[in-house]
């Protein structure tokens, strides 16, 4: 399933986000980078239908995003926030089960099949053993995995993740990125995420999008677009690319 951005404009006070001519394709992992305040999270929330966008701005597999109701949209696209906003201490499984919301009518409770799907999502992220744990006990890295499992339980073709690796130690960071790669490569999902860690971005991304001041500065495959000049321009900060044994590192 593809996600196309035609001519998206979103204004909030003095800030203006203006993005056009961008497409996210099936089986591809796209990483959006840029300095703080570039509008990355705002852009993601527009993609996820959480902020009001103009008609015809975003096209989700041939349908205008604006024309889709909440449940319809949530069956096609799952959004993984940086943190959850739960006020009550649900068990991990109950938490992941909430991913089934869009598939259930208002007056229904999850069926055995829904529970099976949630358990499968937990096992995909390697957290089956956590099912009955209260989720307030989890570390932030573990919570991130559970949030991803909840998005998987939504069974969507599109996954949008907001900085899924911030506050994570190197191991958890690598685990989250491996998972994202696996979802694109094995499950043919369209994966879009924002990242601050440029090394991680360069290493994992099929496509990269560079943002600054609410605009896309450049986009494409990292090997095609990534230059010291571009990075320095995007971050207003001198940066160096360093290549070693076929891998690219970004140095300050």
């Amino acid at each position: 399933m593809s996600l196309r951005v035609r001519n998206l404009v979103f204004r909030y006070r003095a800030f203006e986000l203006r993005v056009g001519g961008l497409a996210f394709e099936e089986s591809r992992l796209t990483v959006i980078v840029g300095p703080n305040g570039a509008g990355k999270t705002t852009f993601l929330k527009c993609l996820a239908g959480l902020l009001p966008v103009p008609k015809g701005a975003i096209d989700l597999d041939g349908r205008d995003l604006v024309s889709l109701g909440e449940p319809e949209r949530a069956r096609r696209l799952a959004f993984v926030p940086q943190e959850h906003g739960a006020a009550f201490n649900y068990s991990v499984l109950d938490f992941v089960l909430m991913g089934r919301t869009a598939h259930l009518p208002l007056f229904a409770s999850p069926s055995a099949e829904d529970v099976r799907i949630a358990e499968e999502a937990l096992s995909f992220v390697g957290f089956s053993a956590y099912a009955s744990r209260p989720h307030f006990q989890l570390s932030s890295g573990e919570r991130r995995m559970v949030l991803i499992a909840r998005a998987l339980a939504q069974q969507t073709d599109l996954l949008v993740l907001d900085e899924p690796t911030t506050f994570l130690d190197p191991r958890h960071e690598a685990e989250v990125m491996d998972l994202a790669r696996k979802l694109a490569a094995e499950r043919r999902k369209t994966v879009v995420m924002t990242l601050h860690n440029l090394d991680l971005a360069v290493r994992s991304a099929d496509e990269m999008v560079f943002m600054k001041n609410g605009r896309v500065v450049s986009s494409g495959r990292p090997e095609d677009v990534l230059t010291e000049n571009l990075l320095t321009r995007v971050y207003d900060f001198p940066m160096t690319l360093f290549r070693l044994e076929g891998r690219t590192f970004v140095l300050r």
Partner: protein, 336 residues
């Protein structure tokens, strides 16, 4: 093992109100033996038994105790389920069933009936009308706002204060006699309940409870942040409205016949969460069961403690507040 214990506790709590209900048919100033009570209850089905039952016993059971207990059952369940629902909707375990101004709206409505209208408008009708009006005002005022949850709660406080001021104004001009009737109503009691009260309130409460109980799992999702709930596929505006309208109807229906009975909607859902966990698939039905049980028992105490009636609302507060202090200390396990 833990799962088995949970199932046992769930079954026990669900049966409890019915056991307490039957036992409470015995409570009252006139002694009725279990055998006679049994016969009286079933006598409408077996007309031949009627001859053996004294007419006074028949009246006590059918005209006094049965409607009162049914009302206690319905009101207790309504208040507890309303509280549990609103706590999830507002993502705040300290919210109660009166948070949107229902109690002060109802109190002002009742004061108009007792003091201004005399008996021309019954307190049930005018308190129901003003309880609903208070919530409508809260929702209308808070509609244009960036942060819906905070602003709804804040507006609730403001509208409540306004109706309390109006209530004081009416009280100031009231005669001592009407003031006494009003105070008795405000303290919350099931004293005057008869079939006429039940005929209106019971269907409203039953229908509202059915709606909330059917959507019980949805409350898990609604208790997430608004943005998260939307991203998971919740039509937030519509579903919030369903919950607000339904809880308002059942709380107003309960308050209009029973007066203001405090603390049930706050304490009962808490107790349930401590016993069985926070999953609303269990919290809502068990809140209904425990709320009904608590109010039936409190009303038993209210009508048997002294030779005269003590308003039951006093007992729910007297028991509820110390219990709440204890619960607050243990609260960390359930919410943060």
């Amino acid at each position: 093992m833990a799962a088995r214990r949970k199932r046992f506790l769930t079954a026990f709590l669900l049966v409890l109100p019915f056991a307490v209900f039957l036992a409470s048919l015995h409570v009252g100033t006139s002694q009725i033996s279990p055998g006679l009570l049994f016969k009286t209850l079933l006598s409408p089905l077996f007309p031949s038994w009627k001859a053996a039952i004294p007419p006074s016993t028949f009246d006590i059971v059918f005209a006094i105790r049965l409607p009162r207990l049914l009302l206690a059952l319905a009101v207790g369940a309504a208040l507890a389920v309303s509280g549990a629902s609103l706590q999830s909707l507002f993502k705040n375990p300290l919210v109660n069933e009166y948070i949107l101004g229902i109690s002060s709206g109802a109190a002002f409505g009742a004061s108009l009936s007792f003091v201004v209208f005399g008996s021309r408008v019954p307190p049930q009708i005018s308190s129901f009308a003003f309880a609903v009006l208070a919530v409508v005002l809260v929702l209308a005022i808070s509609r244009r706002s960036d942060s819906p949850v905070v602003s709804v709660l804040l507006t609730g406080v403001i509208v409540s204060a306004f109706f309390s001021a109006l209530l004081s104004l009416v009280e100031y001009f009231a005669s001592p006699y009407s003031l006494q009737a009003l105070f008795f109503w405000l303290m919350g009691n099931l004293w005057k309940s008869g079939w006429a009260d039940l005929a209106v309130s019971l269907p409203l409460i039953a229908a509202g409870l059915a709606v909330l109980l059917f959507m019980r799992w949805r409350f898990n999702v609604l208790s997430m942040s608004d943005e998260e709930a939307r991203s998971l596929g919740v039509r937030l505006r519509r579903e919030k409205l369903v919950v607000l309208v339904t809880t308002t109807i059942i709380t107003a229906a309960a308050t209009s016949v029973a007066g203001i009975i405090g603390w049930i909607g706050l304490i009962v859902p808490h107790l349930v969460r401590m016993i069985i966990g926070v999953d609303n698939r269990r919290v809502l039905p068990l809140s209904a069961a425990l709320g009904a049980t608590v109010l039936i028992v409190a009303d038993d105490i209210a009508r048997s403690l002294a030779a005269f009636e003590v308003p039951v609302g006093i007992f729910t507060s007297l028991i509820g507040i110390p219990l709440f202090i204890v619960l607050l200390r243990k609260a960390g396990k359930v919410w943060r």
